[in-house]
Symmetry: C2
Subunit: 426 residues, 2 copies
């Protein structure tokens, strides 16, 4: 539109030159002023902030990162600005994926890769993010439009394709591998699956197993009132083919649920909560603070949040998963040695002589179980003087086996089946 | 801007009449066509859908309510369209309040009353909802702009004022009382407090105690990693002055926490989760499904969600709270009689003779504890054939006293203090 307005100004200038009458010339001048005003108004409507080079912690109203950098001062995150080094891929830009993308964009993530093949419809307006005026656009185009306005610092890559097709899967894999990081198999730090069907989840699972790529899965039930997130680390945790969450939770095969032509219910609340839990765990994973949940459910009717851990199934049908399991088992001695070295380093650190011989204030180092207090959890538990966490520590809860329903899936498939039967009979 | 463009067209028309030369006249015609084009382009950018008279359940892409009306077909909500009869007031249109307003708008709430005195700043961009181009606008104006574009069916009332001033408090009370509903003390069905400081919470508490208005409180900690929601029903539950959540949870007086000039950390994730939990409980409360949580905490470092119930403090410093407590106690015989009548009605219903004498399929009515299965929870547990809840029932959890940390605050203040001491010592 700016271009149109500029042409209008030029046309008026041409007209002015062809009109000799000073009175008419004057009215054309006024017309030009009017167009100038309209131009500035139209610019105001799409005003975008300029890119920033460094994340500043300065506390001024014009700093979009001040409240995020404050996480460092509050002792939650050691180095917030590292977020700019990370790349996250989001598969499925629907009710959960679009909100997850917006959250990561507002948090200042380095690079976002967005995958979807669908278009925006008015029927999507009961969930957050998309606007009615975007109806008809592809979801990836609409997302890039909105996200680049919100934060021009984020590098956005969008892929309008269906990953369940042969061609789509190829491009998906290639895009994940691009900009491969040192010591990594791909160019992304995490893949978030926000798709709404079993087939697409299995495809993300296949890609991540092949690439040895850590990912998080998310889902919302067809009746809109429950959901879950899950961390999948090939070889270490169950993959999606080892034990799909729904099968584990209810004994029902998810494939039978998503049917053609059925209009699923959905709510902006459930999807907003699931997106929030997903991205919060993404931040904890990337920036190394707090504890990343291996599985977290959300039953909104009762505000109940079950957790569980799932080890991989040695009889998994996915051959890439079996390969990753083998590698993970083979790497055990190296992992153990590394953990031991770390423990010893920490122990020797606390056994060193006093740094200051004078100890006027009688400060002493308290010996804490080093296993329990990694640098991350220690820094997040300690707040500056005068501040404290709003909620009591959940350590008491974690210690009680009954406190949160933690189900450990064993290696043995028959045993798994027995556990499921027991769960469903309960 | 549309008005400016219209004036421009008129000016061109005037100019055309004053210019006799047909060539110049022709160029002015072209200019008018150009302005017409710009006008249609500017309209396109802010395309809004037209209002709809009834919420349709029709499954077509153009229906913004199809996925919400599906909640009825799925057996979650008995009558979703009732949502259009409800009015909700949101105090504080910040990181939680703005998202709560957007969720309710997308759900098709009848009327929203929005209160805030602040303006949008770039420093707010690390939370959802506001856009950089809205910097400098009042939060209420910016919210009305965005929300009316999203859903023109919602009646929006915005109040750019500070409720903690004498004048602001007066207008706050008056606006809540307007359109008073039959049998109610106000014109709103629920007040949501989404403010960020102790003083404003105490003002909402005062207003709701005076008006005998049920409300929900929400909050996020200064370190951005935990939050809570709480239901407050004057006389029945603790009011905010009886026991502020922070005091209960950690033994620290909240007034000491929010200090001038301190830049609190904030995250779109934590605020999105708290807004989602708040509006989900609002929907459960208004549309009568599931269980409304009396208090729900969110500790994001450990994905821990404590719950508790708080009875009012008979020594509360708020006189309006004491009045409501007295009324609530006095109404006990009437409440008991009503509950008994309801129980008997349900019992007689299940004791009636069979509706169909033929019972080819041998269907029998199973006698369930009527206390446990209200109409709402029954309808939400039963899904149509082939569908099931994604997560297992949490009944097992509810039965175990250890399962979720439920703290019941007793009537006695000394006892409360002992409980707090024990909690903090743990």
């Amino acid at each position: 539109m700016e271009e149109e307005l500029r042409s209008l100004l030029q046309d008026l200038e041409t007209l002015k030159r062809s009109v000799p009458d000073p009175d008419q010339n004057d009215s054309i001048n006024k017309l030009q002023q009017r167009v100038d005003k309209i131009m500035s108004m139209s610019k105001l409507g799409s005003a975008r902030r300029s890119k920033v080079k460094d994340m500043s912690a300065e506390v001024v109203d014009s700093n979009p990162y001040s409240r995020l950098m404050a996480l460092q001062r509050m002792g939650i995150v050691q180095n917030y600005e590292r977020i700019r080094d990370f790349s996250v891929a989001i598969v499925g830009i629907g009710g959960v994926g679009s909100v997850a993308a917006e959250m990561l964009t507002r948090c200042g993530i380095g690079r976002l890769l967005l995958y979807d093949y669908d278009t925006v419809e008015l029927a999507n307006m009961n969930r957050l993010f998309f606007r009615p005026d975007q109806a008809g656009m592809t979801k990836t185009d609409a997302a890039v439009q909105t996200l680049s306005d919100i934060n021009p610092d984020v590098v956005l890559e969008s892929y309008s394709l269906n990953i369940t097709t042969v061609k789509g899967f190829e491009i998906f894999i290639e895009s994940l591998k691009r900009n491969q990081k040192q010591g990594a198999n791909t160019g992304v730090d995490l893949v978030l699956s926000c798709v709404d069907n079993y087939e697409a989840r299995m495809v993300v699972n296949q890609a991540c197993n092949e690439l040895n790529q850590t990912w998080m899965e998310s889902g919302v039930s067809e009746d809109a009132v429950s959901g879950h997130i899950q961390l999948l680390n090939p070889g270490e945790t169950a993959c999606f083919a080892c034990a799909p969450p729904l099968v584990v939770a209810s004994g029902v095969d998810e494939r039978t649920l998503k049917r053609e032509g059925v209009c699923a219910a959905s709510l902006p609340t459930t999807m907003g909560v699931v997106a929030g839990l997903l991205v919060q765990n993404t931040l904890k994973y990337l920036l190394k603070f707090g504890q990343v949940s291996p599985y977290l459910g959300y039953n909104s009717l009762k505000d109940y949040f079950p957790t569980m851990e799932m080890r991989p199934n040695p009889q998994c049908s996915n051959s890439a998963c079996l390969e990753r399991q083998k590698e993970y088992a083979q790497a055990k001695p190296a992992r153990d040695a590394l953990a031991k070295a770390k423990l010893e380093a920490e122990a020797s650190l606390s056994n060193e002589g006093p740094l200051h011989v004078d100890n006027e204030w009688n400060i002493s180092v308290v010996d804490i179980d080093s296993e329990k207090t990694s640098a991350a959890s220690r820094s997040s538990d300690a707040l500056p003087e005068g501040l404290m966490h709003e909620l009591p520590s959940s350590d008491r809860l974690q210690e009680s086996p009954l406190a949160q329903e933690t189900i450990t899936i064993s290696d043995d498939l028959e045993d798994l089946q027995r556990q499921l039967d027991a769960l469903n009979a309960a």
